[in-house]
């Protein structure tokens, strides 16, 4: 049996996150644990800033945030969880990976909150009462499930343009497509898919930068609602 070589990390610099994930899944599914672990490490490194930033932006379900020092500790713990998740991650789609990342961050931050409660430095009541993120169920599961069904249908259609199929296959691109307001949807597509800056979007759409700021913010809230609302 021939096996795919592990890419040199220098080459990995130029691999997209979804390509790293695909390589991880490839090796994991073949039982090539060492290679899968190396791919996961690359993926974890690539996600480090995202994890840290999400921990710093984290808010408790009942309100309030960790102070900066605790947020830094929680970020570190969340990153460790992400690294360790490589041994058990069963998903294969980028959306699943991202949802899992967010869950790692939320659990790490909540655990820090619990420790703070134990030390009586925080008096916000029970965190568990207000958090519905059980270890095996995430807030985006229903959206991921619906997206998976639609992707299975899409895969059945022959499509020549691999890049277009890749973009369309991502959970966030799918969710943006569900936004009804044309203005919000256009701005989010250019933000997430084409990664244009606010000025570039304003120029492309012939609107003011202020309009871009407002549509990004409002569209983002609708996107979050769509990804959270599709519960089975």
């Amino acid at each position: 049996m021939t096996t795919a070589p592990v890419p040199n990390p220098l080459e990995c610099r130029h691999l997209r996150e979804d390509e790293l994930l695909r390589l991880y899944c490839h090796h994991r599914d073949r039982g090539e644990d060492e290679r899968a672990a190396e791919m996961w490490r690359q993926l974890a490194i690539r996600s480090h800033d995202r994890v840290v930033a999400m921990a710093r932006a984290f808010r408790f379900p009942g309100g309030g945030r960790l102070d900066p020092e605790d947020a830094a500790d929680a970020a570190q713990e969340a990153f460790l969880r992400v690294v360790e998740m490589g041994a058990s991650f069963a998903g294969s789609a980028l959306g699943q990976f991202r949802a899992a990342l967010r869950q790692c961050v939320q659990h790490a931050c909540l655990d820090h909150g619990r420790r703070e409660l134990r030390h009586e430095r925080r008096r916000a009541g029970s965190l568990d009462e207000r958090y519905d993120g059980a270890a095996d169920a995430g807030p985006f599961d229903a959206a991921i499930a619906r997206h998976s069904v639609e992707q299975a249908q899409l895969a059945a259609e022959a499509e020549a343009d691999d890049e277009r199929r890749r973009v369309r296959s991502e959970l966030v691109a799918w969710a943006i497509g569900q936004i009804r307001n044309d203005n919000y949807r256009a701005v989010l597509e250019l933000t997430y898919v084409e990664r244009l800056s606010a000025d570039e979007i304003a120029s492309r759409l012939g609107i003011t930068p202020d309009n871009v700021y407002a549509r990004r913010s409002r569209g983002l809230r609708q996107l979050e609602t769509i990804l959270r609302d599709h519960r089975a």
């Binding site: 040199n8 997209r16 672990a37 945030r65 460790l80 933000t191 800056s197 996107l223």
Partner: protein, 210 residues
Amino acid sequence: MTTERERVLSDFIDAWNAGRRPDVDAHLRRVDAAERDVLADEIASFLTWAPDPEYDDAALVALTADAVAALAQAGAAEPGSWWSAWLPLLRRRAALTRAQLADRLGERLGLAAATRPKAERYLGDLEEGRLDPAGLSAGLLDSLAGALGIGASVLHQAARGRAASAPLFRGDDVAPDAAADLDVLADALTTQVPQDWDEIDVLFRGGNSA
């Protein structure tokens, strides 16, 4: 009307997408206290689904150093397994074979060319978990960090394990076995170097005293 919060969110998004590694706290501080929670939620939503940033090589190197440092500081694993997991990756990221890394160390430490195959063997032992990293000398760690292009403190923390990591010295986070770890370090510091060791043995096995 566009609010300042919406403008700051957009700034964050643009900085993220461009790979400029924006600081969340700095952005939150730019809005009124009453708006910070909403902005934090919006940033969290964005980040969950945000595209992979356009990192340039310098940003990726910095990102890698931060990620590896986070693991070293946290004592993510036993010191030996940390090295076997991360040293090969750091070495390959620096585009070096083991032999080339041994050469770089030799150049930095002023070692004779004839000693480099032995240094290469030690590097192999380290990568494969057969060498106790507590024995790595401070000079070797500094040179290794320089050759790999990462901060020396990362490797020092990784080599000394949990007992040397900064979080352990903060209030109630002190691990119950920290005292025992410090005893082990103290023993290592006072251990006599065997007479038949050469300079490579001392560098890789002599610990802090080397």
